[in-house]
Symmetry: C2
Subunit: 319 residues, 2 copies
């Protein structure tokens, strides 16, 4: 992937970092925003949507709060730089917030949660997206599924949640449809406007269900406004609707450094809370546990790749 | 309500403010955390759970981040003071964050979102609660339904979402059960472990559904850890399980002041986003619209009260 990016003009170190973020997503079990997404990323570079040379720049600052212009650079590099800056602000001010406008899809949102937690900070970040979900009460997409990431650092494995605000992503629905499996919970509406467990019917109607129905619908709208407002960027209704033209996204990155306050044993707290959460009947895992399992398996056995996509990336790296 | 509080030893001005927060909740259509909740509030004062004399105090500070001890004071007064301090921090640092431990139920969470937006700031706050929802994969309650509030200021009406992380609160389920109405979406599991639209069956099993199933389950857990960790307070697993003994809650209040950055017309942005959200087929409202409608009706026609509860409060005010 790094070779393919260099061949398209990306500077050596940036290409390595960008490729690493894709590879880490696949390693952690999120191939949809890892290797499998890479061919589209290259097409969006070729189409002029992503500028491989652009780096984000601060356009307004107020202590612990900053507004940056992503200048349509690679979304994952921009997001990583944004969270790094939020972490630096948190070291100084206890909390730091960076709003990033005019950027591209950040690929796996969880990356920036893990990044914050690896730095010992609490991370909260979200992005808007093109309109891909109908708000509660309508049948046509008017809100984004605006992924929200929340991370809490822990020595024995961070607590990280990375959730799109639709109950299922289009990618997840496609996988259920391909396997012919019913969804475990209703994931949207069929053509008749009935709540449905049929992934195929939901993909056909385009009526994905927001997380929590009216609740996620409202939350996605509010998070969109905050991101666009703080970043002086675009809100969902201003973002191109074609996925391969999706750009000018707005994002918020918040980091909180607990070590700036009087010492508190956060690890003991998290360990105890996880013990209470996971002990007892049923199969309960804490958010982040599955990622560590998949990561360990990948590091031991290698990362599974789709052979067709792998061949496509190898070809892109060669020419 | 203010008279009843004064009779129980609360100082004049604090009693007025505390009563106002209850009254405003009823005025805005949230009687469950307004007047209807007031008798329990008095019982918790009588039981020594709530200390009418206690005011919150800062115990650790780091620039834009502060940790406060709620000293088991009245939860709504503590929360209002906490958001006021977060707003003050945001005026100085762009963003402010206050973590409040050892506090009591904040009653209507939306109050603090409206408070932030009335001050022209973006507000984000959440609280943990006693364990009242089973995490995804279990049948017994181990997580709180940890309400999350997000507010965005707007001249023609703030955008405010106030959402518990269970699909329905116990109060809402009770109302559906009383009316014998089916829930519009699945709200939990019945005794057989099947997803159910039957409020009575869900109340009987105690298996409320987290918003977004596994997603809200993970989010509630992560928000609990952040609140308890930053506040050096209790996490859900440490909070007494009897609702009338529920205390030592942990909360986070974040305010962001967009006016500290270069000027951006947030009102125009919000108006345009709301126009796009609400225009077209179907009945779509922005979060906060319904509150303003109910508020206007209340201010015009008076606030509807439950006669039995009203009589109880009048008796408490008299003696």
């Amino acid at each position: 992937m790094a070779d393919a990016l260099r061949r398209r003009g990306m500077a050596e170190r940036r290409a390595a970092e960008c490729a690493l973020l894709f590879a880490e997503a696949s390693r952690d079990g999120v191939a949809s925003h890892g290797l499998n997404r890479f061919p589209r990323f290259l097409r969006m570079i070729a189409g002029g949507v992503i500028d491989v040379h652009a780096a984000p720049a601060c356009v307004s600052a107020a202590g612990a709060l900053e507004r940056w212009d992503g200048r349509r650079g690679p979304g994952n590099l921009n997001a990583r730089a944004a969270m790094a800056r939020a972490i630096a602000l948190a070291r100084t001010h206890g909390i730091g917030c960076l709003a990033l406008g005019n950027t591209n899809h950040w690929m796996r949102g969880g990356s920036y949660g893990w990044q914050a937690a690896d730095a010992g900070t609490i991370g909260i970040c979200w992005t808007n997206t093109l309109a891909n979900v109908p708000p509660w009460g309508a049948a046509d997409p008017r809100i984004g599924n605006n992924p929200l990431v929340v991370a809490f650092p822990r020595v024995r494995g961070h607590v990280v949640i990375d959730m799109a605000l639709s109950q299922f992503s289009v990618g997840a629905l496609t996988e259920y449809a391909a396997r012919g499996e019913p969804l475990p919970v209703a994931g949207g509406f069929d053509a008749e406007g009935e709540l449905s467990h049929d992934a195929m019917a939901i993909l056909a109607s385009g009526r994905l269900l927001p997380v929590g129905s009216w609740k996620g619908s409202g939350l996605a709208f509010a998070l969109d406004l905050i991101a666009a407002g703080l970043a002086a960027g675009h809100a969902t209704h201003q973002i191109p609707r074609n996925p391969e033209q999706e750009t000018t996204l707005s994002q918020v990155f918040i980091a909180i450094d607990p070590s700036t306050l009087a010492h508190e044993d956060l690890d003991r707290l998290a360990d105890a809370a996880i013990a209470h959460l996971t002990t007892g009947e049923g199969d309960v895992r804490y958010p982040g546990a599955r990622t560590l399992d998949i990561r360990a398996r990948s590091l031991r056995d290698g990362v599974e790749v789709d052979p067709a996509i792998w061949a496509e990336v190898r070809a892109a790296a060669a020419g």
